[in-house]
């Protein structure tokens, strides 16, 4: 299996799992963890694309809320607290990607001359 086929297979399974979780969450889970969603159905299909992509997060939040492990005060912690770390990591990531990209390039095989293995009509060795 080629690299491209592997990537496509992984993406396909990610979306299939996401589809199954979106069905379960939108028919069952959302009513259990969000009382404001009870009796409201029209908006639910709008959530499907996002659930397909971030279904692990949906599962995690479903579990946390269902298990009563939610810490409500976390909602009010400024998300910007992690921005500095994220910015540094991203800058380092860009630098690393550039370095690896420039240092891992193949070398044009200018010193390898064409080699005749057999003349026309000769059996191939």
């Amino acid at each position: 299996m080629s690299g491209a086929e592997t990537i496509l297979l992984l993406v396909r399974w990610w979306l299939i799992i996401g589809a199954m979780i979106s069905v379960a969450f939108l028919f069952i889970g959302i009513d259990r963890i969000d009382e404001d969603a009870r009796g409201a159905y029209i908006f639910r299909p709008l959530l499907v694309p996002a659930i397909l992509l971030i279904w692990p997060l949906v599962l995690w939040r479903w579990y946390v809320l269902e298990a009563g492990r939610e810490i409500w005060s976390k909602h009010y912690r400024p998300p910007r607290a992690s921005h500095l770390v994220a910015a540094i990591l991203m800058a380092a990531g860009i630098g690393t990607a550039l370095f690896l990209g420039l240092s891992n390039r193949q070398t044009w095989p200018a010193d390898i001359a064409p080699e005749r293995l057999s003349a026309p009509g000769e059996a191939n060795e």
Binding site: Q106, A110, E122
Partner: protein
């Protein structure tokens, strides 16, 4: 309440004295760092090569199918001498297999954009019969001349982008485009590390003389070595590669 003594930058007011040094250092750093980064990245890029379009040409010749269509010119122009062998493609990421196959062995008139890069000549046909149509005249497909089995080092590219329709038309950054072009039946070419029988490139086919096999797509744009049979068709070298011998070079 924020500290009133803490300097605060407002774009339309003079910069606070405490921030001027920081501002100057930031501006200079931005210019220098971005400029140096651009220079560094630019200096590592390969020369895109001399491939380019050479305007519309109309010639007459005989069609031969070697996995992909070529034409042996029987009546050329000032730019394309009689006897030259041209590889054919259509517009966009489309080859000309379907258009040329019914005319195999026949004399045709070909019209389109000539793409040239070294010994590589390709014509991007105009649409419909204006690009390719049967014509009067005599001509025959030259007898192919086998040149034996060779081991070559180099890179598989799609013949159209490499010939100048895109710049650069080779390299890893161009790999996806090249694969799409070849999947659209645009003839692939093998760019050799050193000239083979006087030519730096060879049209590429599968081991049976058909279209390039799947393994060629996986090796596209990488520097590889590969074995195969070389045959001269007119003045065009055709490399029937053996995909089991592909080795990626360091």
């Amino acid at each position: 309440m924020s500290d009133p003594k803490k300097p605060f930058f407002v774009g339309y007011l003079p910069a606070p004295p405490d921030l001027r040094l920081f501002l100057i250092v930031s501006i200079v750093s931005f210019v220098v760092i971005f400029g140096a980064t651009g220079l560094l990245i630019g200096s590592t890029q390969d020369d895109p090569g001399p491939g380019a379009g050479q305007g519309r040409q109309t010639v007459t010749g005989v069609v031969e199918m070697i996995g992909y269509p070529v034409i042996h010119v029987t009546q050329g122009t000032d730019r394309i001498p009689t006897g030259r062998t041209l590889i054919l493609s259509s517009g966009g990421k489309n080859g000309a297999v379907g258009r040329a196959a019914p005319l195999e062995g026949q004399v045709v008139q070909v019209s389109g954009l000539l793409l040239e890069r070294g010994e590589l000549d390709m014509v991007q046909l105009r649409g419909g019969n204006n690009g390719l149509q049967a014509a009067d005249g005599n001509g025959a497909v030259p007898r192919p001349k086998p040149l034996g089995r060779w081991k070559l080092a180099g890179e598989i590219c799609d013949g159209k982008c490499y010939a100048g329709i895109m710049r650069p038309g080779r390299g890893l950054a161009h790999r996806a485009c090249a694969n799409l072009c070849v999947a659209g039946e645009i003839p692939p070419v093998f760019v050799s590390s050193q000239p083979v029988e006087g030519s730096d490139f060879l049209m590429l086919t599968g081991p049976d003389g058909g279209v390039m096999p799947q393994e060629g797509y996986d090796a596209m744009a990488e520097y590889i070595s590969v074995e195969g049979e070389i045959t001269r068709h007119g003045d065009l070298l055709v490399f029937a590669m053996d995909p089991t011998t592909i080795e990626v070079l360091p």
